[in-house]
């Protein structure tokens, strides 16, 4: 894991003191809320309906157990005892008081964390694959470049007042778990014909009101040019991105309006001027950062297939969890363990301080003291010896953190929706919970298999409904909550936006609609075919008929 050196640490400490002065000026009335707003936003502080919300970056989703304990401490000391993990590998606290924020930030700085650029029209937290460094299909560790991008983008003097927020994601695997095609910039590592690893550069993906799958503007970029090329893209965007309409200000609109070829030409022209300059990434720096990500001291052990099978046969609940929540580790004898934050009892992504502390202990005991956060609002213990799986599971059960549903129907992304968000048309979380209730039967759940349901409470799409296999969008119809459905969305390497089924359903029919869609799938699928594959093969027709009757 990356550790701050003296420079990184000094920057974050100075930033806390700067904000302490600014908050003091606000509290004394020297600054109005309007004047204070840009300052607090640059430090991740939003003003919500009743309180401030503080958003803290978890760079590319990596957390040490020490950091997790500090997050628990913040939840307990300054908030109401819990935190909320977001789809952007961040954590949010919803009930923080301004007078406490500088102290909370100082506590976070002590464990190398901060909220810099977690909001505002600047380059946000760079996100990545939650299995980085341990995935079997990985080519190279993307976290090295995420960290390089994190440093380059932190307090970038030229790009702190962009037309709109800007999000970058990096994947080092052909199987994209970082949704790189749905970011302002997506970087996919792959080898060129000479066998050298570089980046495919994808721009202009995004969700929101006008969703787009990103376009490739460069097939292969050498790592030494990464920062100059990013700087060229950002400069073109800063100069030419629209500023007249907040909903048309993201880079995706610029790319769409001038066209991919013209955008590429502008970037290349700019890049030629700054390439091979001061932004060239020396190999010594790549190596320096790479050294932080050397694998932990794995034991030389074999896969525990036999004893694990025995434990699974004896314990069906454990078996269900192993089947759903584990992923293959590149080192034999180890497994990647996903921890679902989608228990029916809590809103998706919420974790209590007690759970956070316990998770930190589990990370110490079983997984080299590290945790990860993924973009589906779940957590990961990346390096668990297979012989320890049963004992880990037993402890997770006690914490209500062993819900066996990763990648399955109840692993739902839901935005805060009408329960918390002023912009919402409809509730998201209760619908997620209702779906969870309806599909309890474990055999049925496994029979349905891999499925993502994403729910947004309005067209801003914070719940990523466009890329859910089943997407659900809350709309307002004459003061009533309605839900529109889309089918066939995906955020992986074959990213696609879902297609609308037709008119929406009132709240009390929404879960029935989900059931109809799934019954249709079960009826028309081929053997072993996932929902998404079936939809791509058969198209909308049978689903439409099931939902609306044949016309």
């Amino acid at each position: 894991m990356y550790r701050y050196d003296e420079f990184d640490a000094r920057l974050v400490t100075e930033r806390v003191e700067q904000f302490r002065r600014q908050a003091q000026r606000r509290l004394s009335g020297e600054l109005t809320e309007d004047q204070f707003k840009p300052l607090r936003l640059m430090n991740g502080l939003y003003l919500q309906l009743h309180a401030y919300m503080m958003r803290i970056n978890i760079p590319y989703g990596a957390l040490s157990s020490k950091q997790m304990r500090q997050l628990a401490h913040i939840a307990r000391t300054y908030d109401k005892g819990y935190g909320h993990f977001t789809t952007r590998q961040n954590i949010q606290y919803n009930w923080i008081q301004l007078k406490n924020v500088p102290d909370a930030l100082a506590d976070l700085a002590a464990v190398e964390m901060h909220g810099i650029q977690s909001s505002g029209n600047c380059i946000r937290n760079t996100t990545s694959d939650q299995y980085a460094g341990v995935a079997r299909d990985e080519l190279e560790d993307p976290r090295v470049y995420c960290e390089i991008i994190r440093q380059w983008s932190t307090l970038h003097p030229e790009f702190s007042f962009l037309p709109r927020k800007f999000k970058i994601a990096v994947t080092g695997s052909p199987n994209d778990r970082a949704a790189v095609k749905l970011h302002d910039i997506g970087l996919r590592m792959h080898q060129n014909e000479q066998g050298k690893t570089g980046f495919e550069v994808i721009v202009g993906g995004g969700q929101g009101r006008t969703p787009f799958v990103g376009k490739t503007i460069r097939d292969w970029l050498a790592p030494e040019h990464l920062l100059s090329y990013l700087e060229a893209i950002l400069r073109v965007y800063n100069l030419d991105g629209r500023r007249d309409n907040k909903y048309k200000a993201r880079i995706k609109i610029l790319v769409h309006q001038i066209g991919t070829d013209e955008f590429r030409r502008l970037v290349d022209t700019e890049w030629q001027q700054i390439k091979d300059g001061a932004l060239n990434l020396p190999q010594s720096e790549i190596d320096r950062i790479n050294a932080y990500f050397t694998p932990p001291a794995y034991a030389q052990i074999d896969d525990e297939t036999e004893s694990l099978n025995e434990q699974r046969t004896q314990n069906p609940a454990f078996d269900a969890w192993v089947q759903a929540n584990l992923a293959e580790h590149k080192v034999s004898g180890y497994s990647i363990v996903n921890i679902s934050l989608k228990s029916p009892k809590l809103p998706p992504g919420d974790v209590t301080a007690v759970q956070m502390d316990a998770l930190a202990d589990l990370a110490d005991e079983y997984s080299f003291s590290e945790l990860r956060v993924n973009h589906r609002q779940n957590l990961v213990l990346a390096d668990v010896p297979q012989k320890d799986l049963l004992s880990l599971w037993t402890k997770l059960i006690e914490l209500d953190l062993a819900t066996p549903n990763i990648g399955l129907i109840s692993d739902i992304i839901a935005c805060p929706g009408l329960d918390y968000c002023a912009l919402a048309n409809a509730r998201s979380i209760p619908l997620a919970q209702e779906i969870h209730q309806r599909f309890q039967d474990i055999d049925k759940v496994h029979d349905i298999g891999e499925l993502t349901i994403n729910i947004s409470g309005c067209m801003n799409a914070c719940g990523h409904h466009h890329v859910g296999h089943i997407g659900i969008l809350g709309v307002d119809k004459r003061g009533k909550e309605f839900y529109q459905f889309t089918l066939g969305g995906s955020s992986d390497q074959n990213a696609s936006l879902g297609d609308r089924t037709g008119k929406g359903f009132p709240a009390d029919e929404a879960v029935n609609a989900v059931e109809k869609i799934l019954n249709t799938y079960i009826m028309v699928r081929n053997d072993g075919e996932r929902f998404l594959e079936t939809y791509r093969r058969v198209g909308m027709k049978p689903f439409k008929e099931a939902l609306y009757g044949s016309a």
């Binding site: 050196d5 420079f7 990184d8 000094r10 920057l11 100075e14 930033r15 700067q18 002065r21 600014q22 004047q35 840009p38 300052l39 029209n121 440093q151 380059w152 932190t154 307090l155 970038h156 003097p157 030229e158 790009f159 702190s160 007042f161 962009l162 037309p163 400069r235 800063n238 100069l239 500023r243 001027q273 300059g277 001061a278 932004l279 020396p282 010594s284 720096e285 320096r288």
Partner: protein
């Protein structure tokens, strides 16, 4: 409004005539891009100092070949969050090699002085009761810089690898 230049408060010798119909015969002035494009010949014949104000939608490439004529280039921030002039400043300094006074005008917040200085501004029109002190605070707030820019502050990467 005070003019903060290279860390001290100075009297602004320039009159902003960018929205005037007629140009004065004498005295240091700031003109608009249109005035420069329409009356460049007359303006270059004047003996007094000349500056230009670029609005946030006027790219510096329009004057890239004329830089020698200007003692001041002022870049307008219509609102603090219109960040185009940050890029304009770097282009003027790094690409077009402009060496003269680069002035930030408009909605310039104290908290932005540091970033503005980093991209190449060396003077600022600001609202402040104690501009020198404000400048000192802004300049000293942060002492670590990750990126190379138009200032001569040393980026961290050089500090890490050059010794």
């Amino acid at each position: 409004m005070v003019l903060l230049k290279n860390g001290t408060v100075e009297t602004d010798l320039y009159t902003d005539v960018s929205s005037a119909d007629k140009l004065p015969e004498k005295g240091a002035i700031l003109v608009s891009l249109t005035q420069w494009q329409d009356q460049g010949d007359a303006l270059t014949k004047r003996l007094d100092a000349l500056g230009i104000v670029l609005q946030s939608d006027e790219k510096p490439e329009h004057i890239a070949n004329d830089l020698a004529h200007f003692d001041v280039i002022a870049l307008e921030f219509p609102t603090f969050n219109d960040g185009r002039a940050y890029s304009y400043a770097r282009l003027l300094r790094e690409r077009y090699n402009y060496q003269g006074e680069l002035r930030a005008v408009g909605d310039v917040l104290l908290e932005q002085l540091h970033f503005m200085h980093r991209v190449g501004f060396n003077s600022f029109n600001i609202q402040s009761k104690n501009a020198i002190k404000d400048w000192e605070v802004a300049a000293a707030d942060i002492s670590i810089w990750y990126q190379p820019s138009s200032d001569n502050r040393t980026p961290v990467i050089k500090l890490r690898h050059d010794n």
